[in-house]
Every structure is written in C-alpha cells, then in structure tokens.
C-alpha cells in the first residue's frame, strides 16, 4: 500500500508539474499577442542566445564534421565508396548531429545562464518588482526568450550544418585526398528537401524546449542559493534529455 501511495503521489506531482509547465508556456505566448510588443527585448535575447553562442557552435560543428569525415572515410574505404563521404557527412549533419549538438551547446551556454538570471531575479524580488509595477513578467522576461529560442536555434543549426560540411571537406578532401567533385556531387545527389525540412523542424522544436525548460526552472526556483543551483542543474539535464527523447520521436515520424 505504501508503495502504491508513493507511486500515486509521484504520478500526481509529475502531472501537476507538466500542467504547470504547459500553462507557463501557453500564457507566455498569449502575452506576446498583447501590446506593448517587445521587439527590442526579442532582439536583445536573440543576441544573447544566438549570436553569443555562435563561437561554441562553430567550434563544435567544425570538429564534428572533421571526425565524421575521418571515421566515414576509413569505413567507406573498406567498400571502395570514398566518393560517398560527402553525402555521409552532410546527411548526418543535416538530419541529426546539427540540430541535436547545436541545441545541446545552446543549452550548456545560454540555457544555464537563462535559468540563473531569472532565478536570481526571483530570489532578489526583481520579478515581484515587475509585478508591482504592473509589468507582466511573463510578457517582459519570458516571452522574448521563448521567441529568441525559436528563431535563434534554427539559425545556429544552419551555421552548424554548413561549418560541419566544410569541416568534413577539410579532412576528407584536403587531408585524405577524396576527390572534391565527388564530395560535393554526392552531397547534391543525396540531400533532399525533406532532410533539410526535417532538420529545421527539429531545430525549431529544440529551440523551444531549451528556452521553455530553462525559463520555467528559473522562474520557479526555490528562494535560496542551493535552490538556484539545483534549478540550473535541473534545467540543463531536463533540456538535454528532452532534446534526445524528442529527437527520437521526431525522427521516427519523419523517416
């Protein structure tokens, strides 16, 4: 009986938390439609989530493309298919690695910072201050971050894909001697619109997951330094896990 009670309590708490998260996101998006419009806030957040994540995304993309080319080259050589290296790198990047790795990088760099920033604002009563000034915190603080995540992550994924493909070119063509024409031609032949569309769809949803989870965890942080630390850890872990789980479901639908 005790086990059943505990399971019931856990299930109820879990469902309640999910409901609260959903209401949080829906209410934030609803506030977007109401004036005043927060264009400047959205651009500021795009700068933070998008532009400031560019370096780490480019670095990760370059080395991911390079290692893919290295691994792919030695595998394909066994079958005499080195000419397909370009398509192997490009498809892996566009379909899977680009969206997933870029989103994980954004989670680590920007997501954790978002949770910490909002959490500190909660603890130091800055969010209460917004309320007392009749400025809705969801509209002023949260909605711009959600929009910036939706726009910023797909742009970063596009950069990730391009840099990754050039990284693969650097190793495959420039270092290992694969024919450049074969490399680019195999990409042109193999990559279809649905691959790019799938990548965009994934990156948009991952952008939403990162900004949503990280904002939520910061907004409802417990009022202590320890609580803020826990919230930041939970935000990064939950975002990362949700990205991987959602990636599987989306892939199984898109394939």
């Amino acid at each position: 009986m005790i086990v059943l009670e505990r399971m019931g309590r856990w299930a109820l708490a879990y469902v309640t938390e999910m409901g609260r998260m959903l209401i949080f996101a829906v209410t934030s998006f609803a506030w977007l439609a109401r004036p005043p419009f927060r264009g400047a806030q959205i651009i500021k957040q795009l700068h933070f989530i998008g532009y400031k994540s560019t370096f780490v995304v480019v670095l990760t993309a370059g080395f991911t493309g390079m290692v893919l080319a290295l691994q792919g080259y030695y595998t394909l050589r066994k079958f005499g298919s080195e000419g397909l290296l370009g398509s192997a790198v490009a498809l892996s990047m566009i379909r899977e690695l680009g969206p997933v790795l870029a989103a994980l990088m954004v989670t680590a760099r920007a997501g954790s910072a978002i949770t910490a920033e909002i959490g500190i604002m909660r603890i130091t009563e800055q969010i209460d201050a917004l309320d007392t000034m009749a400025v809705n915190p969801l509209q002023y603080l949260i909605a711009p971050k959600l929009v910036a995540g939706l726009i910023g992550v797909p742009l970063l994924v596009a950069i990730f894909d391009v840099v990754g493909i050039y990284g693969g070119h650097l190793v495959g063509v420039d270092l290992l001697g694969v024919n450049a024409g074969s490399y680019w031609n195999s990409i042109e032949t193999a990559v279809e619109w649905k691959d790019i569309y799938g990548g965009i769809l994934k990156s948009v949803s991952f952008g939403l997951i990162v900004s949503w989870v990280c904002c939520y965890k910061g907004f409802y942080t417990r009022m202590s330094a320890e609580g803020l630390g826990t919230a930041t850890t939970e935000a990064v872990v939950l975002s990362s896990v949700l990205i991987l789980v959602w990636d599987y479901f989306l892939t199984s639908v898109l394939l």
């Binding site: 800055q126 201050a129 000034m133 809705n136």
Partner: protein, 252 residues
C-alpha cells in the same frame, strides 16, 4: 482605502496569517511591527496582490483584489508602488534606467520628458548625478534611495515599504526614515511600512500596528500605542528601546 478582512495564509504547512483585520487610514503613514518571521512581509504582499489569501478579502476602495488576475489586477496595481527590502533594482540596468523603467513600460513615455522626471526624483532622494551607476556600484543606503525614487516616480496613491532600513547604519536609517516621512507629507500618499526600527518609527508614523501570532494585536496612534497594557506588546517595544517597562505601564 486599503482594507483586509479575515485574511488567512498558510505557507509550507505553517499558518502565517490567522485572520487579519486591518483598515489602513487614507493619506497616513501606518507602520506594522512584529517579530521576525511573523508574517509582516507576507501581509504586505497580500495588499498588492503578490500573494493571494487562503481565505478572507483584500479591498482597495470598492475592489476586492484577492481573486483578481491578469489585467484587472494590473489595473489596481497601477495605484500602488512598493519599496522592497533589498530595493529589488534591476541589476542589468543603471540607476537612471531603473527609475525610468515604470515611465517607459507603463506610460510609454519617451525622450526628454523621461529625463526630466527621473532627474527630478533622483534629486529628491539625494542621488543627483548618480544615474549612470549600476546598482552593484551603490551602497545599501543608496540602493534604497534609488528604489524609493523608482517607486515614487509614478506618483502612487498607496506606497508599501518592506523594511526600508534593514541592514543600514543608524544614521543612514534615520535619513531614509526622514526621506519617507518628507515624501509622504509632500505627496500625501497612503503609506504602509513594515519595520523593526523601534523607537524611530514612533516618531514618524501616524499609526502603529502590531502583528502577533498571525493577527493584528493592536493598532493605534504612536502615543496611545506606547501606553498599551498588553504585556507582549509592552515587552516587544521595551526591548526595542523606546520605553522602559516602568514607563510602559499606563498612567491612569
């Protein structure tokens, strides 16, 4: 008029407010005293709708705000301003931007008009020329002054002060009290202040109320309040230093 009727609130399984009945006199400075952790800040947050009571009512004139949400609640809040314990300045904005924030966000005010209003308020609180600084560059007293300027810039009808002098030295605490009193007298807003500063609050308040065991144990004008026969209140204000136990005995 601000009025609380039978307000109760339990936080974390602990009853904090257990039937608060309080009517705040209009245009006066009312100070709420009480033990640390006794629910004074919680009470203040109910007045502005930051917390909702488990039961009871909070009236602002003829509007009962405890059930209000969203735009309706914001409309009522436009009549309020609040100075938080830590000032709650936005640390990513300068002092000027902090004070300008409600003007820009709520009134959609722009340009020189904002500069004039902000500079005027900064001067009134003694922070002229400090607008370019960030909150982290200010002392505790200066942060409180900046918070006060931000609260006053919208010319509120009702001002709430949550322990405005906590953590300040006695001289700085006195200057903040003087500033609050001067502003209240000058603008005539209804003020509710939560404070531990005994005896100073008796010199500046129009009314003093004591929160004890989740209820308003007493409320009166300072002179009458100090003549109370309630032993708990007498002990509280005596330890605070305002009167000795002998003095606190009523002279009837």
């Amino acid at each position: 008029m601000l009025k609380l009727v039978e307000v109760t609130k339990t936080l974390g399984g602990q009853p904090v407010l257990q039937g608060i009945d309080l009517t705040v006199p209009e245009g006066k400075l009312t100070t709420i005293i009480g033990r640390s952790g006794g629910g004074k800040s919680v009470l203040l947050k109910h007045m502005i709708g930051l917390l909702q009571p488990d039961s009871g009512q909070v009236w602002v004139d003829d509007v009962e705000i405890s059930k209000l949400r969203g735009r309706a609640l914001n409309d009522v809040r436009k009549r309020f301003a609040m100075l938080f314990q830590g000032a709650a300045l936005f640390d990513s904005l300068t002092v000027f931007e902090n004070v300008a924030f409600p003007l820009r966000e709520r009134l959609r005010m722009k340009g020189p008009e904002v500069t004039v209003r902000v500079d005027e308020k900064l001067e009134q609180v003694g922070l002229a020329g400090m607008g370019h600084k960030f909150p982290a560059e200010l002392s505790g007293g200066m942060r409180k002054r900046a918070g006060l300027a931000r609260a006053l810039v919208m010319q509120p009808e009702i001002m709430l002060f949550d322990e405005p002098t906590t953590g300040l030295d006695p001289l700085m605490a006195k200057s903040i009290h003087d500033l609050i009193l001067n502003m209240q007298r000058k603008f005539g807003f209804t003020a509710v202040m939560v404070s531990h500063e005994i005896p100073e609050i008796f010199g500046i308040s129009d009314y003093v109320a004591m929160l004890n065991r989740g209820k308003i144990a007493a409320m009166a004008e300072p002179a009458e309040f100090q003549r109370t026969t309630d032993p708990e209140i007498r002990e509280f204000i005596s330890v605070g230093g305002t009167v000795s136990l002998a003095q606190a005995v009523p002279t009837t």
